[in-house]
Symmetry: C4
Subunit: 229 residues, 4 copies
Amino acid sequence: MLDALKQSVWEANLQLPEYGLVTFTWGNVSGIDRTRGLVVIKPSGVSYGEMKKEDLVVVDLDGNQVEGDLKPSSDTPTHLFLYRELPAIGGIVHTHSPWATSWAQAGRAIPALGTTHADYFLEEIPCTREMTPSEIQGNYEWETGKVIAESLKEKDPMNVPGVLVHQHAPFCWGKDAQDAVYHAVVLEEVAKMAYHTVALNPGACGMNRDLLDKHFFRKHGSKAYYGQT
Amino acid sequence: MLDALKQSVWEANLQLPEYGLVTFTWGNVSGIDRTRGLVVIKPSGVSYGEMKKEDLVVVDLDGNQVEGDLKPSSDTPTHLFLYRELPAIGGIVHTHSPWATSWAQAGRAIPALGTTHADYFLEEIPCTREMTPSEIQGNYEWETGKVIAESLKEKDPMNVPGVLVHQHAPFCWGKDAQDAVYHAVVLEEVAKMAYHTVALNPGACGMNRDLLDKHFFRKHGSKAYYGQT
Amino acid sequence: MLDALKQSVWEANLQLPEYGLVTFTWGNVSGIDRTRGLVVIKPSGVSYGEMKKEDLVVVDLDGNQVEGDLKPSSDTPTHLFLYRELPAIGGIVHTHSPWATSWAQAGRAIPALGTTHADYFLEEIPCTREMTPSEIQGNYEWETGKVIAESLKEKDPMNVPGVLVHQHAPFCWGKDAQDAVYHAVVLEEVAKMAYHTVALNPGACGMNRDLLDKHFFRKHGSKAYYGQT
Amino acid sequence: MLDALKQSVWEANLQLPEYGLVTFTWGNVSGIDRTRGLVVIKPSGVSYGEMKKEDLVVVDLDGNQVEGDLKPSSDTPTHLFLYRELPAIGGIVHTHSPWATSWAQAGRAIPALGTTHADYFLEEIPCTREMTPSEIQGNYEWETGKVIAESLKEKDPMNVPGVLVHQHAPFCWGKDAQDAVYHAVVLEEVAKMAYHTVALNPGACGMNRDLLDKHFFRKHGSKAYYGQT
């Protein structure tokens, strides 16, 4: 069951160390089959080098484990909340990639400062609010999904395909698992360049809005003309 | 037709990931046959790992596609404007290399701060002015070429073989496609060191002019004595 | 004798260059057999590429060399002091990994700024006090162990599995040699992100305490639920 | 003639790209046979990947080319001045390694800030004074050697095995070509960590003198006890 999805999610997980986004087991990717309402996700604490496709875990949107001998990622409830709240997304990735995480630890949204950002994010990249003691001590991972969704403020998640979780690290998403990882790479690169940009120009707080729109819509929407399709 | 040029442009494009100048498809190289007035350029959005030499696109200086099944880079009009305006150049490269892009996002020219810069650039590396709404919403990529040329202020482009486009990223050039990529590598290294130099010495704004001239003309012009020729 | 321990310590030493924690011979790992009171440690000044398992040195807790043709690491007395003072630890590693060393040189403890830190360290990562002239000129490496232990202030060393030695570099430990190296990798990553965090937010001095506890105890102690066990 | 020296200098040159100290041809290593008064040095502008051992050039201490079909490095007069002025040294290396070059461009000596520095340099790493117009326009490379020697202020060059040339880049030396490259690697690592240290602690200007001496003399001189000899 779900063999193609498992293959896709397995490959997407292996891309995390290839792209330098993870140390040890600090990241996980999932993908969803919307028709069946089933999510395939990395098992908890298993190293990428040893993880076989069969080790992936299948859960339903209520968190019931449907397949797999291993426990799913401890971040599974965050993924499930986001799949329920954001019907457009098909894959989610969480990492502690160092540049994005530095912004998250600083509690700062990443302002749109150049066309690299604008090619994929139509807005600044939000940082969630601090969580309350009861959110942290309660169903923590589920509540993490909630503050991520709250930070989107009803924007189209495909226009803002990633968010920084305050004092934690980024979550990204996309139309499938590969697309989510693609956005995680973009976010890390954008975070790195934004760090150096604000050091060179402390007043930099946002780019020309026309230029931002131009670049985003060169690549997205009905008038896109970048690429071969 | 243009087989040697295609080989050269293909190899130059593949150098971009080898030198760490690009993430995904964020860059493109072109080369020109001045006798025929034809430009060979990377197809739009094709990954370097999958791009075959036959995928390269040939366009004339009016932008008419002469050869190739794929669409040319969306930045093709920028390349064409520069080839028309700067008859001395034979190759052009655009990347989002992170250090140069950070300076571009900050809207700052890179001052000449040491001999590494002086070995290849006789001046500071300019940053273009902000583009107007009509330039952005109009023939954007063609107008990008215009502001690049404007930033050169009639200087010899071989003395300033690269420019930062404001809130965007660098364009470099050279006598051919390989030479353009060489300058893109130089620019990235110079941008990195200039960043750290101004952090260590915030007053650093330009090097000794005699030293700059000495190093540039050790490598360029009739009195050059660096290398074997 | 001690063949399994030697294998473990040898592999742990070889992990130092693999994880990018050492230049040349700037690091060493040891492990202890608590039953026998014997420590296996890297020989002094031998490069990782040339070090054979047989080159490892065995010493007792009084510093007497029990096995091996080579001299043990010059830092051996530091290791021995820590094994005597901290009965819970089974492996120790010393490196000059650049991010952690930069904090050590600055004489600053690394504040807990995010969940990556909190997953492994329940407190800030201490920086030892400056050593006195008589400590430096006397039994220097033994005294180094003393100031490390002093910086822990009777805290459980498994809750703070590493310390910065003032104007020097980090020491880390764990339940065995591999676990010590694991913590050295964590420390380096945490040090790097903390550097960038305080640059982005100079006021950042410590994270939400509830969040810190939540993440530490997700991975440690009787209520841990991260991973497969 | 000089076959062993050529082999040594050739290998030392190839170490420059292996250690990440050079981009393109931005560096050169030489070694001297003191008995014969002959220096083996890299040819000018030849890439490391293509350089054969037979391409190395032999010159005497007056700069006369004794062997080799290629032109020697344009920096040869700097090497020759240093060999004449500093009889203790047997190898010299010049690179534009980025961290050391950033300090050189900033015109700042690198203060001794930790034991990594102290293990190899008994003092701060000097930055030469600005050269005069007549020095630059005259026998520039020879004059570069002069300002390097001047910056040592009659100190033992083996206690300060490298110097930053103002607005240019580092030169390092050692007992032979390999030792010189070793010091170039140390300098780059020390420069990187010093950069981050002064960012974390802007008041950091020099380490505990007792600690500096302790570490230097653990590795150097008659009372050294680091390593196997």
